[in-house]
């Protein structure tokens, strides 16, 4: 029983420390936020339960990124999954939560099964669960076994990360949890899957074939586009954010996949640079997505609804929430001078430098990946114009939105703290890259001495001559803004208030506002080949002759659920029903089964 002797070793290399920092950056503000969030509507017992579950959940994530033993890793991983399941079903009175929790726990265990299988295969060669033994064993493993382990790890961690088509649980589970937990789940928990990929595929297994990186890149591009297109169609504020997590995991994996390609191509500088870009987007996404989920939670707390079509005008009632949500929205839309812009620019640069260094079809492939990232960026910006515009601007669309009040101090301070972090991560890009080079060097096993992607403390320079200075851009923007403001302030200043132009009608109300559904209609039509939208019209009649009103609803076809998950589920259920025939409930038959089994075993044992 050698394998039961577990060395309880913890790992504190730069890769683990980086992920620890990510966990801390999001968890601490979320915890502060939860003070206000849980204040009303929960009993004392519930509060104690929520707090202890949350702390245990955070601790389990800390364990996931620090253990140095695969067996312990699995234990921590399972602990994290179970604790997050309990948090998803925290509002157990809602049927939706229970359903979301079920989908989540089934999917996450499929993932864990694949990870366990991959570990057992490596264990067969290593004879120990220790990471260092794993790493040694992977050097000796045959190529086809390595390929199988890679696929298993990709499916296993991909399920947790939510890459398409394994993302199915994410838009159900994340919005259903309390908002501070959504923030931790979307901000940090899915990132532990990226940690798993980097740790086990790049660090331990070692990139063996070129197609590994290509596969990751293709999956990443698909995740980006599918995630953001579904997000555009979504009108539930938190569900929209959950779909954006799928998109952003795609962007992170673009960096990771590009790095895998460059490692195999023997280009260490680019491999480190691409992984830096991916990891930079990881920490950025953790912070701004955490911020956005907390903002959405504040809106939910104040109005009791997450449906954007019932919101509007909140910028006047909740100025703090609105301003901080705007910072998050701009960051996720990759607008300068915020952090999302820097990491997307770095990812694009990684692709550009890759295209420059490679020849022929790879030049085109990498350029197309970059183009798809640009398309994703455009779609994300549209989506956040919709999300912010419909939720916070113009007139309130319901009584709930009209009576909203700014949230409590603890929630506000968490929002402000996260916005400040978002801004700092954008301005301090050079310092971050210096740190990330060390982290990437640790993960890829490449010696990074002499690798420098910065010009000075304010300027990034992935290639000599190519510079990006976020503080300078911010300064230029502020300077021109200020100059224009001063110029506009001179002369006569005559501003009068009026009504919005309504073609001569002057009693426009919230019903004439553009809705989220209308905003996304051009996209729904342009992507109709994928979304397959259909409408339902219902006539509400007073009598047979008089139609009082129409009810008109637009739906999109959930492609993955309908064409992948439902058929699979049907096959499983049918097989189970067929199997039921051998279980008739009669004790005689069962005794016969036992007899036949024993007979077969005797024959099997006595065979030699």
């Amino acid at each position: 029983m050698e394998y039961l002797k577990i060395g309880f070793s913890l790992l504190f290399d730069p890769l683990s420390l980086f992920f620890l920092a990510v966990i801390a950056l999001v968890s601490v503000p979320s915890a502060v936020y939860s003070i206000g969030y849980l204040k009303e509507g929960h009993s004392r017992g519930e509060k104690i339960l929520a707090w202890s579950l949350m702390t245990a959940f955070v601790l389990s994530m800390v364990l996931v990124v620090t253990v140095g033993n695969a067996f312990l890793f699995l234990v921590a991983w399972e602990l994290m999954s179970l604790l997050s399941y309990f948090l998803v079903v925290f509002d157990h009175k809602h049927e939706k939560s229970v359903r979301a929790g079920t989908i989540y726990i089934v999917m996450t265990h499929i993932g864990t099964a694949f990870i366990t299988a991959a570990f057992l295969i490596i264990y067969k060669y290593a004879g120990s669960f220790d990471f260092s033994a794993f790493k040694q064993a992977c050097l000796l493993m045959p190529d086809n076994v390595k390929n199988i382990v890679f696929i298993f790890l990709l499916v296993g961690f991909g399920t947790k990360a939510g890459i398409v088509p394994l993302h199915i649980w994410l838009p159900y589970a994340h919005p259903q949890a309390p908002s501070h937990i959504s923030s931790i789940m979307s901000g940090v928990m899915i990132k532990t899957a990226i940690y798993g990929m980097v740790r086990f595929i790049i660090f331990i297994l070692g990139v063996n074939s070129l197609w590994w990186g290509n596969l990751v890149l293709v999956l990443a591009v698909v995740s980006c586009l599918v995630g953001v297109i579904y997000a555009l169609m979504e009108h539930d504020l938190k569900k929209l954010l959950a779909y954006h997590s799928v998109e952003n995991i795609g962007i992170i994996l673009l960096g990771v996949g590009a790095s895998m390609v460059f490692i195999k191509m023997g280009n260490p500088v680019l491999a480190v640079f691409a992984l830096c870009a991916g990891l930079y987007h990881l920490i950025n996404h953790a912070v701004f997505k955490g911020l956005l989920f907390l903002g959405a939670g504040a809106v939910y707390k104040a109005t009791g609804t997450r449906n954007m079509e019932n919101l509007g005008g909140l910028i006047k009632l909740m100025p703090w929430t609105a301003a901080t949500f705007l910072v998050g929205a701009m960051a996720i839309s990759a607008l300068p001078p915020f952090n999302g812009f820097v990491s997307e620019w770095l990812t694009l640069q990684a692709f550009f430098l890759g295209a420059l260094a490679t020849a022929g079809s790879y030049k085109i492939f990498l350029s197309l990946c970059a183009a798809m990232l640009a398309l994703t960026g455009g779609l994300a910006a549209s989506c956040f114009v919709k999300a912010f515009g419909v939720t916070f601007l113009a007139m309130p669309r319901s009584a709930h939105a009209r009576e909203a009040k700014e949230v409590s101090l603890s929630m506000k301070s968490a929002l402000v703290a996260m916005s400040v972090l978002t801004i700092i991560l954008g301005l301090a890009a050079s310092l971050m890259i210096k740190i990330l080079v060390v982290v990437s060097g640790c993960a890829t096993g490449i010696n990074t001495v002499g690798m420098n992607f910065t010009l000075n403390n304010f300027t990034l320079a992935p290639q000599s001559g190519t510079n990006l200075s976020v503080p300078l851009i911010a300064l230029a923007l502020i300077f021109v803004f200020g100059a224009a403001w001063a110029l506009a302030g001179t002369g006569k200043k005559r501003v009068c208030e009026g009504k919005t132009w309504g073609c001569g009608y002057y009693n426009l109300d919230s019903r004439t506002e553009y809705t989220a559904t209308a905003f996304s209609k051009p996209f729904r039509i342009a992507f109709s080949f994928f979304l397959m939208p259909y409408t339902k019209t219902e006539k509400i009649r007073e009598s047979f002759y008089h139609v009082k009103s129409f009810k008109y609803e637009v739906f999109t076809t959930p492609v993955f659920r309908r064409y992948i998950y439902e058929p699979t589920l049907n096959v499983i259920i049918k097989t189970a029903q067929a199997m039921r025939k051998i279980q008739p409930g009669s004790i005689h038959v069962y005794i016969a089964y036992i007899f036949i089994t024993i007979l077969a075993l005797i024959i099997f044992v006595g065979r030699s």
């Binding site: 910028i315 601007l393 113009a394």
Partner: protein
């Protein structure tokens, strides 16, 4: 010294930017056998708007007031990255070719939000359509940038705009960048600057609620953005020959295109942009082949 020269270049370009619009209008009118307004009409318009009283809808928030300044700031900031009169005349330590796309997106984001802020259906419609068009413009712009940067070996604009030998891929990329320019400057066939029929306009619908100084700032920003794109094609993508001549050629091409075809339906515009995407992919392929 260099900084001063760059600042002079920026101010000069800002100063002539309304003139470019004026010239295009004049050419269009002359082709249509009309006399047309003076080429300085855009200046008179700006001066008039600056002196006018401003009407602000009572449903709007600070986003509506800030948006004109943000869009102007983003246009000028992007303009400062473009080397026009000499390949070193730009703030190349501030950002590169890719950064221009991102910085312009900032202004668009705010104007689109401002379109939604007044609560009118026109503004929302304009915002939705503007974001829709610009979403499909983005990959085309990026691939064009990639093609010319791959030729230059860097996304640094000084390197890109330094003449190194005429490449076929740069010319193809300038074609797709021309379509990007048409879409970004709201010109026919994607959008129509002259229309005031609420249902067909895109950019104009979005800024329908603006008046007075705010409208003047937004119009100035549009003029600047137009000059920026024209000089990108004239000075950066095809860095050979006389700048004034190339600028005149771009202006002539835009005016001729505007008078010779009709505005496309919104979803036909997507077809045009898909066509431009194919051209830009061609540019990358030709560049990968070494031409």
């Amino acid at each position: 010294m260099k900084t001063a020269l760059i600042l002079i270049q920026i101010l000069l370009l800002i100063a002539v930017s309304p003139l470019v619009s004026g010239i295009i209008r004049k050419i269009k009118n002359n082709i249509r056998m009309r006399k047309g307004a003076s080429v300085f009409q855009p200046y008179y318009n700006l001066a008039k708007l600056f002196g006018k009283e401003e009407v602000v809808s009572d449903t709007t928030s600070w986003i509506f007031k800030a948006a004109p300044f943000v869009v102007l700031a983003s246009s000028v900031c992007a303009l400062s990255l473009v080397p026009v009169f000499a390949s070193t005349l730009s703030f190349s330590n501030m950002g590169d070719f890719l950064a221009i796309i991102f910085i312009l997106a900032l202004g668009r984001f705010f104007v689109a939000l401002a379109g939604l802020d007044a609560g009118s259906a026109f503004g929302g419609m304009g915002s939705s359509r503007e974001m829709f068009i610009s979403t499909f413009v983005e990959p085309v712009a990026l691939l064009s940038v990639f093609a010319v940067s791959l030729n230059a070996g860097s996304t640094n604009l000084a390197a890109v705009s330094a003449p190194a030998g005429l490449k076929l891929s740069s010319i193809i990329a300038s074609l797709s960048l021309f379509v990007v320019t048409i879409a970004e400057t709201s010109r026919i066939p994607v959008d129509n600057q002259e229309t005031h029929l609420e249902l067909t306009m895109i950019h104009e619908a979005m800024v329908l609620e603006y008046s007075g100084k705010s409208l003047a700032l937004i119009e100035l920003a549009s003029h600047i953005k137009q000059v920026l794109f024209f000089s990108l094609i004239a000075a950066v993508v095809i860095p050979w020959g006389d700048f004034a001549l190339k600028m005149a050629a771009v202006i002539a091409a835009v005016s001729l295109l505007e008078v010779s075809i009709a505005k496309m339906r919104l979803f036909r515009a997507v077809d045009l942009l898909s066509f431009a995407l194919v051209i830009s992919i061609m540019a990358v392929i030709v560049s990968a082949a070494g031409y």
